[in-house]
Symmetry: C2
Subunit: 273 residues, 2 copies
């Protein structure tokens, strides 16, 4: 199924704009899981069980899995296997290289692991996206305006009258307007307002809420369309550091996800009034 | 040892500006190696044995190793173990993320695997470099002007009077002028001339010769300093596709590396006259 179709269906069926970020740091996994053969895989399995009722999908930041070497590889595979088929999966790999090399990243993340979509660095241009776009039912989230302070180094530089991030968006849309969405930090409300107005059919992946301290209300209020997902990681997955067992862990983490999902929906509903 | 010192020493001691790119695709490994437990590791081991006399160092494009999953991880480790201690190693990972996440990449590539240096995407700004820079003897190669056709998408965009790639270079140098060098494609001779004139002490990693068809003579003639390495991969490592055994393989591949090293040195010497 074409990703855009899957995405819209997921938003509808799950009634959720929440994507849980499985940025699983083995040093932050609760004590009771530390003796597992693969603590990261176990942790993720419990988080997915606890939260899948409340999510539209999951985003795995690949850095955390690379850090765990073989067990990280294994955890990616086992985690993807337990995520419900109708939810979206995002490889937050922020990859980008020349075409032949990017083709290998596409083989690894999209073909081998089976992620629906992947985040991509725009700097090297079209070659960094094309191999991913060649896959029929896959999707690319290009970094446009990121949530970190380093966004100020280059992303606001003016090309004529337009900031670089906007030029990136326009250029990327010209490559493929059905299979490319953008990563836009939650804190950039003015720009979110602009991009959702200019591109009412273009999905957005929005990180930067939760531990990164974006304001959810301001963010939701800035959006002019509803084809977006809000990523939250630490505030959900690490909400039960002292849990003594799986039951306790899932209760707390599930509640955190439910709360996050409901908060987003409530703010969306208030807008409509 | 501070990387800059190691780099200058390596250039001197090896009398080579050649870096061999170990972009090892398992489907291109000769028949006689296909039955090895880890063909990529074996192939690399033979390439290093055959070429180390002629190289300043080695660059591993991480995409090839990720594609090989567990065996790729293992091959990175075994390959680094056989590279001579005085030569430089480059993780061509083109990584970049928010600070906390980039820290994990630094732990993986610089601490765990022990690469001397890593290639980095500039788009997300300083956060994508800082964790790598925190490691005392490590080094960052920031993508400035890349060799692929997609470089034309954004890297030449004008910020006022300056192209983006130049703004990236100036900004990065302001973060740290001792631990940051740049990736500049061999085909961009006019820009190579400019950057080596403006920054006579700043190392460059130059890909795009060989299979990517840059002209070595034009490239060498454009350089105003000698703190550079030229990366060549496919023209060396895949020069012996029909080799029947290790001895034959190493003879051919070694000769290809020697030829490449000598060609570069000859062109440098001709300049001096």
């Amino acid at each position: 199924m074409h990703f855009l179709k899957k995405f819209k269906q997921a938003l509808r069926e799950t009634n959720s704009h929440l994507v849980v970020g499985l940025d699983t740091d083995i040093t932050k996994v609760p004590q009771f899981l530390q003796t597992a053969v693969n603590p990261i895989a176990e942790f993720n399995s419990l988080v997915v069980e606890a939260t899948k009722e409340f999510t539209c999908g999951y985003k795995l930041n690949v850095a955390f899995y690379e850090r765990a070497l073989e067990r990280g590889l294994s955890a990616i595979q086992s985690t993807l296997a337990v995520i419900p088929q109708n939810q979206i999966t995002i490889a937050d790999a922020k990859r980008g290289d020349i075409e032949n090399t990017t083709e290998l990243y596409a083989q690894t993340f999209l073909d081998e692991f089976g992620f629906d979509s992947i985040t991509v660095q725009p700097y090297m241009g079209q070659d960094s996206a094309r191999p991913f776009l060649r896959r029929k039912n896959k999707y690319v989230w290009i970094l446009a305006l990121t949530s970190n302070y380093g966004a100020n180094d280059f992303q606001f530089l003016k090309i004529g009258k337009q900031p670089l991030w906007e030029v990136v968006v326009e250029k990327a849309v010209s490559w493929n307007d059905q299979k490319i969405g953008f990563v836009m930090g939650a804190n950039h409300t003015r720009e979110l307002e602009k991009i959702t107005k200019n591109l009412p059919e273009t999905p957005l992946l929005i990180p930067g809420i939760g531990a990164q301290k974006g304001s959810l209300e301001k963010t939701i209020n800035s959006l002019n369309h509803s084809l977006f997902v809000i990523n939250q990681s630490r505030s959900i997955i690490y909400s039960a550091p002292k849990a003594q067992n799986a039951v306790e862990f899932k209760a707390i983490v599930g509640e955190a996800a439910q709360k996050a999902r409901d908060e987003i929906n409530k703010l969306i509903d208030s807008k409509k009034k």
